[in-house]
């Protein structure tokens, strides 16, 4: 049997780095309620304690050895994020979701490069994580918006993704996997990485791509779609009315020197045969 999965599945065993903080504690329980196996937590100085009955370890390597953890979800503060991710990679973790935002650029660049060179899937930083309804969730996406189905969602945004997924669910259009790749300038996982997985995934029949202004990730996605993706793709691009030169919330959401505009992205996607929704609430209509 062909193993069908996009990044996470029933065999995902999560270690939560920074589990004793507010976010770590709340979301480790929420992930578990979604059906994810959350097997361990790591917080330096708190080894031997538990959080919601989840054992806490000093090091990721201890968690891997004792619990078989294979995936990490990182909630540690930004100054410690690079160290936490590299500790996870060093311990043999193969999938890492970095929720933390405001990670310094000069930490992000080597962290992402090392992950890629080691064949580690690093999602984020500054991302909500991913969810496969009926299987598992790693990150902070609200559980109740999802419905099991066959549409793959990939997005640079957090709450906007929730908005769109929620509208899809209300229209009874379920999701195979939803991946929030995050709004930073140097993401560990790109649109192209996820599109490749959706194209191969048997459960995924259609794809929704949610982009925003800044950079050229959407243009690169369009190029990839044109050459490699046979499944229908629907897109929404946020920031049509954003002024140039202003950072619109996300570190990566800025129109710099006339590049990274919504128009350029929409044009590229439409040229690749992608239907672009004028409003986020139009996505379900275009999927139907």
């Amino acid at each position: 049997m062909i193993h069908m999965t996009v990044i996470i599945d029933e065999n995902t065993k999560v270690v939560v780095q920074g589990i004793t903080g507010y976010q770590g504690t709340y979301h480790s329980q929420a992930m578990r309620d979604f059906g994810t196996q959350v097997v361990a937590g790591v917080t330096p100085g708190k080894a031997g304690t538990t959080v919601n009955d989840i054992p806490v370890f000093e090091f990721v390597s201890d968690a891997v050895e004792k619990t078989g953890a294979n995936t990490s979800c990182i909630f540690v503060p930004a100054p410690n994020t690079k160290d936490a991710a590299l500790e996870a990679i060093n311990a043999g973790i193969k999938t890492i979701v970095v929720v933390t935002e405001h990670v310094p650029l000069h930490d992000e660049i080597p962290m992402v490069a090392i992950a890629r060179s080691r064949g580690v899937t690093l999602i984020g930083p500054n991302c909500p994580g991913l969810a496969s309804p009926g299987r598992a969730k790693v990150g902070i996406l609200p559980s109740k918006i999802f419905r099991k189905g066959n549409i793959g969602v990939v997005s640079r945004s957090g709450t906007l993704t929730y908005e769109i997924v929620n509208a899809m669910t209300e229209a009874k259009l379920g999701q195979s996997t939803c991946v929030g790749i995050g709004g930073d300038r140097v993401p560990g996982t790109t649109f192209v990485d996820v599109l490749e997985k959706f194209q191969k995934d048997r459960q995924t029949k259609k794809i929704v791509l949610v982009g925003e202004i800044g950079g050229t990730a959407e243009e690169e996605a369009a190029e990839y779609i044109k050459a490699n993706v046979t499944k229908p793709v629907i897109a929404y691009i946020a920031g049509r009315t954003a002024p140039p030169g202003k950072r619109m919330g996300h570190a990566g959401a800025i129109i710099a020197r006339g590049r990274g505009t919504a128009e350029s992205k929409i044009k590229a996607l439409e040229a690749a045969g992608v239907k672009v929704a004028p409003l986020p609430t139009d996505v379900p209509r275009l999927l139907a």
Partner: protein, 367 residues
């Protein structure tokens, strides 16, 4: 965080890159005796200073004082000149370009170099620019500096200086947590020295925790932007009349776009980040009251917090007197019906979806 030219040059100097001798003054009579010709340069964080009359030559101290008094206080494309840099004029033989920036597609740093400096790098033809990515696993190495100097077709003496500067600029990027470091022009003087005649450096604001030295630096922010920054709220002033508060950058932008589709125009972009913390919502409402908008649109997609708790925070911010301007509120999540009822009872205009909220806010603004 963009640095003023003089601050950028201080950093270049600190890392061993030659700069012209000079001094920064905020009033003309602070100018010391000078020997030889100088340039007087307005210190503003906006391009096109020269064209706007913000850069002028002077030959004597008296002349420099006269020129400086004219430039100080000058409004350059909306920025008031508070300081000028008075520096020794270089005998320019050739102008080069050297910069290091982030290549988002390659997810690495990128060296950009050209033998045609002195103008906006955007207007230099692409085949005249060397784009040299720095593989993060390899890091900056000396051969990269040699590639830069070779591309610029420099003579041996100057090539060695450019190679050295290239390495020092790469070192500066890492040590100072810069996201952009640009020298344009990098001047070869008639005497054969290579000197940074201008400097543009942007420091990564996410790395300020390890650079306490920048805390004292003042940024050019409006009082409202200052307040928002302290609250860790992304706040951008726009030219419309609908104030938008939403949580998450993408959702806030999508709310702006939706308003536009219904004929309205946003005047404030206020992104709380991906949070629905009632205290932060309350602070944002208070901030928005000061922005003098015609209509306020609140669009919260709830995650951790229950909608009625968020609504309670909104009501507290408005106070018992109510809001002088219409507020369209949409809060999505657990207990949203209760929240909607609370907001309606307080005289707000509740909406259940994003499009509905955008349509209602636009209508109110056009009334």
């Amino acid at each position: 965080m963009k640095l003023f030219e003089y601050k950028a040059k201080e950093l270049l100097w600190k890392h061993g890159i030659p700069i012209p001798e000079g001094q920064v003054v905020s009033s003309a009579n602070q100018i010391r005796a000078i020997s030889g010709p100088v340039m007087v340069k307005a210190q503003v964080l906006i391009g096109g200073r020269g064209k706007a009359g913000g850069i002028k030559p002077a030959n004597t101290a008296d002349e420099a004082k006269k020129v400086a008094s004219a430039i100080l206080g000058m409004n350059i494309r909306g920025y008031i000149t508070k300081e000028v840099l008075v520096e020794r004029r270089l005998n320019i033989a050739k102008e080069l370009y050297l910069g290091i920036t982030v290549d988002r597609s390659r997810r690495s740093l990128l060296i950009m170099a050209s033998a045609e400096g002195g103008m906006d790098i955007e207007s230099v033809p692409e085949d005249k620019i060397l784009m040299l990515p720095i593989d993060p696993l390899i890091g900056y190495q000396k051969f990269m500096g040699r590639q830069v100097a070779t591309f610029m077709k420099l003579q041996k003496g100057q090539a060695a200086q450019v190679e050295d500067i290239c390495g020092k600029l790469a070192g500066l990027m890492a040590a100072e947590d810069a996201e952009l470091a640009e020298i344009n022009p990098l001047v070869i003087t008639a005497e054969g020295k290579v000197v940074a005649s201008d400097g543009k450096i942007t420091i990564d604001s996410d790395a300020l925790f390890r650079h306490k030295e920048y805390e004292a630096l003042k940024e050019d922010l409006t009082p409202l932007e200052e307040k928002a920054k302290k609250l860790d709220i992304a706040f951008v002033q726009l030219d419309g009349d609908i104030g938008v508060i939403a949580n998450g950058a993408g959702l806030t932008m999508a709310t702006l776009d939706s308003i536009n589709m219904f004929g309205g125009k946003a005047g404030v972009f206020l992104d709380l980040g991906g949070t629905d913390d009632p205290e932060k919502v309350k602070a944002a409402m208070n901030l928005m009251k000061e922005a003098n908008m015609k209509v306020i649109l609140l669009n919260i997609f709830g995650g951790i917090t229950k909608c009625d708790t968020v609504a309670k925070g909104v009501l507290e911010a408005i106070g018992s007197k109510g809001s002088p301007v219409p507020i369209v509120a949409r809060i999505k999540g657990v207990n949203e019906e209760i929240a909607r009822e609370m907001l309606r009872n307080a005289g707000m205009i509740p909406a259940s979806g994003l499009s509905e909220a955008a349509e209602k806010a636009s209508k109110e603004s056009l009334r």
